[in-house]
């Protein structure tokens, strides 16, 4: 049943094995070029290649390819500008990079290869990178004033200890939810796709067996329709999750960039 197992698709396989090495902190580690690496490399090449292609012959009136690139660029640019405000331009490269990379990995995971964003280790790295940037920017810009983030203005002093604890815990949960949202969405969507695809095979097999099994054929057709519909939905989710990641990155950055004085 290995082929029908919906979790089997998330198995990491070694393509090129480099053996094991002894690392000072992590102990014995296996080194290998895996299918996850391959998919990430493809995503990287696609992002860099695509953006180089659309900006290769720039014109004042954009052609089709250039228009696609400009739309993506403009969307994130507007986002950073509208959420972070005047300082948004400084953080735009980070947000745009992470958006394009996650979008590329989601889309090629759906259409072409292994889904890298369905690995918790990968999404957790993105979450950590984002929150580390937030911390660094927060401390660099505000110094110890960073801790004002946990003390919202206009709260009655009786409630203050409770509010501070809640704000602090919700801040700690930010990278966790950031990582889990992307991971869970990709994992859940791909498992659902695989389950319905598995139904088709099983029901057609039942139908070919003859007898009452012929009722399997309409069921298989229904499952096929479901797979098509789910694939369409997953295309939307793939884009949406990359977008949501970018929006939340902007919101978290805005919290520390414009600390204490809105905009």
């Amino acid at each position: 049943m290995a082929a029908n197992d919906p979790i089997h698709q998330f198995q990491i396989e070694k393509l090129v094995d480099f053996g094991t090495v002894n690392l000072p902190v992590f102990g014995r580690s296996e080194l290998a070029f895996t299918n996850s690496h391959l998919a990430m490399t493809i995503a990287f090449v696609i992002v860099v290649g695509f953006l180089s292609l659309v900006t290769a012959r720039m014109q004042v009136v954009p052609g089709r390819m250039q228009a696609v690139g400009e739309t993506l660029f403009g969307m994130i640019d507007n986002l950073a500008e509208s959420i972070i405000g005047h300082d948004g331009k400084k953080y735009f490269p980070f947000v745009f990079t992470i958006f394009m990379f996650i979008l590329a990995m989601n889309v090629i995971g759906l259409l072409l290869t292994f889904t890298v964003t369905s690995q918790l280790a990968v999404t957790a790295t993105f979450g950590l990178m984002t929150i580390l940037l937030v911390l660094i920017v927060g401390f660099a810009k505000n110094g110890l004033g960073f801790f004002k983030l946990f003390v919202p203005s206009g709260v009655p002093w009786v409630l203050l200890p409770v509010i501070v604890v809640i704000e602090f815990v919700s801040f700690l949960l930010r990278p966790v939810t950031l990582a889990l949202r992307l991971f869970g969405n990709m994992l859940g969507g791909h498992v659902a796709l695989k389950v319905f695809a598995g139904f088709i095979v099983t029901l057609v097999g039942l139908g070919l067996g003859g007898g009452l099994g012929v009722f399997g054929f309409p069921g298989a057709a229904l499952s096929l329709g479901m797979v098509i519909a789910l694939t369409a939905l997953e295309c939307l989710v793939a884009f949406l999750q990359a977008f949501v990641f970018a929006v939340l990155t902007c919101i978290y950055l805005n919290d520390v960039v414009n600390l204490g004085h809105g905009h």
Partner: protein, 74 residues
């Protein structure tokens, strides 16, 4: 074998947490639609907020789902 059975039941129960996420996401989109029908000209500017709200509500359901997966395969 009882431990295995308890794990499976627990995984099933953990996914019940997604009921809340379903209610939350439905609430957000329903309210957005009713607001958008009252004032369609303002709707386009709120699409970003709509999806962020939906994503935040959905994340809690995803936590339940991940817990279920962890129980089943962890």
């Amino acid at each position: 074998m009882e431990l295995e059975a308890a794990k499976q039941i627990g995984a099933g129960l953990a996914t019940l947490g997604m009921i809340g996420a379903g209610i939350g996401v439905g609430n957000i989109f329903g309210n957005f639609l009713s607001g958008a029908l009252r004032n369609p000209s303002a709707a386009a500017s709120q699409i970003g907020n709509l999806f962020v709200g939906a994503a935040l509500a959905e994340a809690l359901g995803i936590l339940a789902f991940v817990l279920g997966i962890l129980l089943k395969f962890g």
